[in-house]
Amino acid sequence: MRPVAISVDPPAVSANFCRTANLTYTFLSDPKLETIRRYDLVHPQGGPEGHDISRSAEFLVDSSGTVRWENFTEDIRVRPRADQMLAEARKIQ
């Protein structure tokens, strides 16, 4: 399973974060919220200073491109745990 993180953060911010947090998986930048909008995840004025951002959401997509599991948090403080997401990924053969 390949994890991919997506946010409005520009590439330089993500690169810096990956370096400091020692993360090696893919971080993608969507500053214009094109993909975030296509996935209907825009949280209007959810960011600092009223910037539009993505709400937290996770999609597990199989090799055919089909969504097999998804999670939309109803509370920004509540996120799925890594082991929960890994358990869902293991179900895909």
């Binding site: 993180a5 946010s7 893919t26 969504v67």
Partner: protein, 154 residues
């Protein structure tokens, strides 16, 4: 009945328990950093200040109604006022945290995930189809891609 002087006055135990619960309520906001079921934490964040405040109010009432028996009129009132403020803050935080878009048009389980091309942290364009087909580490294509949309501004 012998007069109870200041030194014999029993501690207003409800105020102390209320204070401890309010401190625990403040600390409960850090539970998100620990490995426990996250869904119950917002309820703990609200329930603890409610219980703490309830005990404090009874404690303060006792201190005012029976000052000869219970201490803590001044410090109990201050802690209770702070607890009210903290509860208001917790309720505001809980409402704000749940103020999210409905995402009715988001792809659903069983549907195709819309393809996209975005820039990675090295400035290179990367598409979902690429992520699904290009090998990971041991030169096998991944069985799945986990798209994690996050709020950013880290």
């Amino acid at each position: 009945m012998p007069e109870i002087n200041q030194t014999q006055k029993p501690a207003n135990i409800l105020l102390w328990i209320g204070l401890v619960i309010i401190v625990l309520a403040v600390l409960s906001n850090f539970l998100y950093f620990f490995s426990m079921p996250q869904a119950i934490i917002p309820w703990i964040n609200l329930l603890l200040p409610l219980i703490g405040l309830y005990l404090l109010i009874i404690g303060v009432k006792r201190a005012f109604k029976q000052p000869q028996l219970y201490s803590g009129k001044i410090w109990g009132s201050i802690v209770t006022a702070l607890a009210v403020a903290f509860l208001c803050l917790s309720i505001y935080g809980a409402i704000h945290a749940r103020d999210l878009p409905p995402s009715k048009s988001a792809p659903r389980v069983g549907q195709k995930a819309p393809d996209f091309t975005l820039t990675d942290s090295n400035g290179q364009p990367v598409s979902l189809s690429q992520l699904l087909s290009s090998p990971v580490g041991n030169s096998q294509r991944p069985k799945a891609v986990l798209l994690v949309f996050y709020r950013g501004y880290w």
